[in-house]
Symmetry: C2
Subunit: 475 residues, 2 copies
């Protein structure tokens, strides 16, 4: 399975065409998105490590070339170019785990058009997918208010690899652990799990099944209590087994409830456990939960749940399963001169931001809270002591001029490839998770709300705004 072949046919048709018409032209492409899933205010980026691997390893094997040749669309010269493909350009990107707002470039690639055109499909499929799941995980962990979230959606993911990289993204977005062993192994993150109903059913009785489990895993004893009847059978049997465990000097972990009215069952189970002296035994809830149900369980119904196991609604971002990131040409380099490009559209909202750009996050000097982002042209310099003249980045806003002054700032982009060489070392997934948590802390609370979040201000510099106007033909 050569990932480089996960490329739309037309990327190759275009590259083959560029080779015959404008072989020396360079292109600059931005990846960005316009709409945040679930009407949130930002996306948590993820997938950069896989994107780097995809570009560094981009190649075509003998059988790929034979297949492409069989299409009778490509010149021999082009197939030779594919055979010896190696990226010779530049890439910048925001680190994984960064909260990023609509229209801000997440990743920018510069290089010969004939090369960088080929990356579109693969880069988007990686970045769109992982950022989608990291964003959903952020929402779910936000709703859980610090309670640990176990990701266990592999069986309902869109295939095993989607499960694996989705679980990676879920950890970046804030999940505590995953049930997926491949993810846990590859990315050195905690694995977690208890037992399935089949364990209970494989034994003559629920009690016998629990007893065996306690014997096997005395220090990892979390029991699934809803196979037959949570209140009348599951919890009483768990309590018996926990009693024996304590006598043997072990601390039981707790119980998991996977069906029925979770809030109601958790409340009674809590009383039963407490009455038996197991105040420290945790209650884990699972059963098709997402951020909306979790918020309701905790805030409205005051369900005494300590941990959540989240499956299909996280691993597919079921309520909004697509992040519509795009890969748009923002400039060509013609005889050494950078010529900004724009995609005009009937819909003002879809008009792109031209040119090579940078994104800055601005912080209040006193509170250290982020209060706005500014997108500038790459050759503009900003400094903490001068003011910046800006307009709103959202073309649907009135776009009056404003001035920003007296701030601290941070450039969000980092260099990833330099002259075709990868120059960036990805942090570990645990480090990315921690960086994400810090970056989220810096954002205003009201931008993190799950429904109707306040719109965080994203500006473009006056210089960029004027370039855009000029290319659209606005006076």
């Amino acid at each position: 399975m050569n990932l480089s072949m996960v490329t739309d046919l037309y990327e190759l048709s275009m590259a083959n065409g560029y080779q015959q018409t404008i072989p020396d032209e360079e292109g600059i492409f931005d990846i960005f998105y316009r709409r945040v899933p679930d009407n949130g205010s930002f996306v948590v980026t993820a997938g950069l490590a896989q994107a780097i691997d995809a570009v560094a390893d981009f190649h075509f094997e003998k059988t790929d070339l034979a297949y492409l040749d069989s299409l009778h669309l490509f010149t021999e010269k082009f197939l030779l170019f594919l055979k010896d493909f190696h990226f010779s350009g530049e890439m910048t990107a925001v680190p994984e785990g960064t909260p990023i707002f609509p229209r801000e470039p997440i990743l920018t690639v510069r290089g010969p058009l004939i090369q960088v055109q080929l990356f579109e499909t693969l880069l988007l499929s990686i970045i769109n997918h992982e950022s989608l799941i990291a964003t959903k995980a952020r929402r779910i962990t936000y709703a859980a208010q610090g309670r640990p979230i176990m990701e266990f959606g592999a069986r309902r993911a869109q295939g095993p690899m989607s499960a694996t990289f989705g679980a990676r993204a879920a950890i970046i977005g804030g999940c505590a652990s995953t049930s997926n062993l491949l993810t846990a192994k590859l990315f050195d993150v905690p694995s977690a799990g208890t037992m399935a109903h089949s364990w209970i059913e494989a034994f003559p009785s629920e009690l016998a099944a629990f007893e065996k489990w306690a014997e096997l895993y005395p220090d990892n004893c979390a029991l699934l209590v809803d196979t037959y009847d949570v209140i009348n059978s599951g919890v009483p049997n768990a309590i018996k087994v926990f009693g024996d465990l304590v006598k043997q000097g072990h601390q039981p972990i707790g119980i998991r409830i996977d069906s029925g009215d979770i809030a109601h069952l958790a409340k009674i189970a809590r009383q039963q456990l407490d009455a038996a002296g197991f105040e420290k035994a945790k209650i884990t809830a699972s059963n098709a939960l997402d951020e909306t149900t979790i918020q309701s369980l905790l805030l409205n119904e005051k369900a005494p749940i300590d941990n959540f196991g989240i499956g299909e609604k996280l691993i597919t971002s079921a309520s909004d399963p697509v992040l519509s990131g795009v890969y748009k040409l923002v400039a060509v380099v013609h005889d050494g001169h950078l010529v900004p490009k724009i995609k005009i559209s009937d819909s003002r909202e879809k008009v792109t931001l031209p040119g090579l750009k940078k994104v800055y996050r601005l912080y209040n000097k006193q509170t250290h809270e982020a209060f706005a982002d500014v997108i500038t042209l790459a050759d503009e310099e900003i400094s903490a002591n001068s003011q910046i003249s800006v307009r709103s980045a959202d073309p649907l806003d009135t776009r009056q001029h404003s001035f920003l002054r007296d701030f601290d700032f941070k450039a969000l982009q980092t260099t990833i490839f330099d002259q075709g060489k990868p120059v960036y070392t990805s942090p570990t997934v645990k480090e990315i998770q921690a960086a994400c948590r810090s970056a989220l802390k810096e954002l205003p609370e009201e931008s993190k709300r799950l429904s109707n979040p306040n719109k965080y201000p994203v500006y473009i510099s006056e210089e960029l705004a004027q370039l855009q106007d000029q290319l659209i033909g606005v006076d």
Copy 2:
């Protein structure tokens, strides 16, 4: 990337436990689902070929075993068992491309519990994913009423592998082609594609970009006409280029519209093309379409569209992105005796069908139309000359007894593994697509409707019904 590690931790914890408690117990698991995505009446199954590979290749590598050992959960004996893992059991399944109804077993695995418990996560993630996308593709091709559908969602798929196997499933469900070169190469299916907006923008003018394309691909000339203005620029420029092509003896393919009001633009473009003598030039529409929009475009708005390119809404089944297939223990084999098992639930709907079973599709002898399915115990025989006593398979129905007689019938399951050996040769994807088309033709029209389809009758044999009642404790 060892796919076998795409397994939930608890599967291994349970298997490790089985080895120490009931090592010789055999288990039988069914994969089935309860709810059809998008409120359809059936699912088109897909993914069996990948499921077979996953089981045949199930293994643990040195680094996997080292990782598992580091969890301090498993005995040395169990790790040795994993090291030498090979499946020794049986598998039956319905062939890919079969329309299948709720509660009918799609795939059944029988073997030592310690083995078959391990397949749950991986098999479900494969079968759930591909069946989901095949089902969505069936809906979309149904809406398109014979017009070819090109799958081109890779960039919005949930990762590159989801794109690749999703595109395979899309072809099974009826799509004509895919833009994904890996899918086209691996599964020998048609690849398709035109050009992106970046091609147009890379040239000084739209006309110049079109002219170059026509020169490069005179026999594959489909032009994207919405970069600047479909009616005033795109189509007129395409017509100029088509004129030149015809003079050179080539037949232009047509145009693609990817934004704006598709119905309105297609109508005017059609008039423009016809007036210029290009009645045979096709119009392809793309822009975030799904079965609902396609039906509206064709039936209500009478848009003159010849082909559709479908992206994110197909490759993620965006309107309903999860097929909730489950893997449930239906029997254990204890000292050589098959003991049927049932999962009881508070919700009557979730109670499983116990025992080893078969599914038959029954046909009207005159019309050859399928009129019902019957699920029986595996050792029951049915014949065309006797009658069958049945009840509804849906526990929410009144479940009165009925008798079925005078029918032709077909058993849907096939043997896939026999004593651990794969004995089934998967058809090609094109053959599966054709088989799916035939199987769909046999179903009643009213079960194929996109909204509020008629419920196709699925029965269980009286013997199976009585076994279920007995295990639930119903008199």
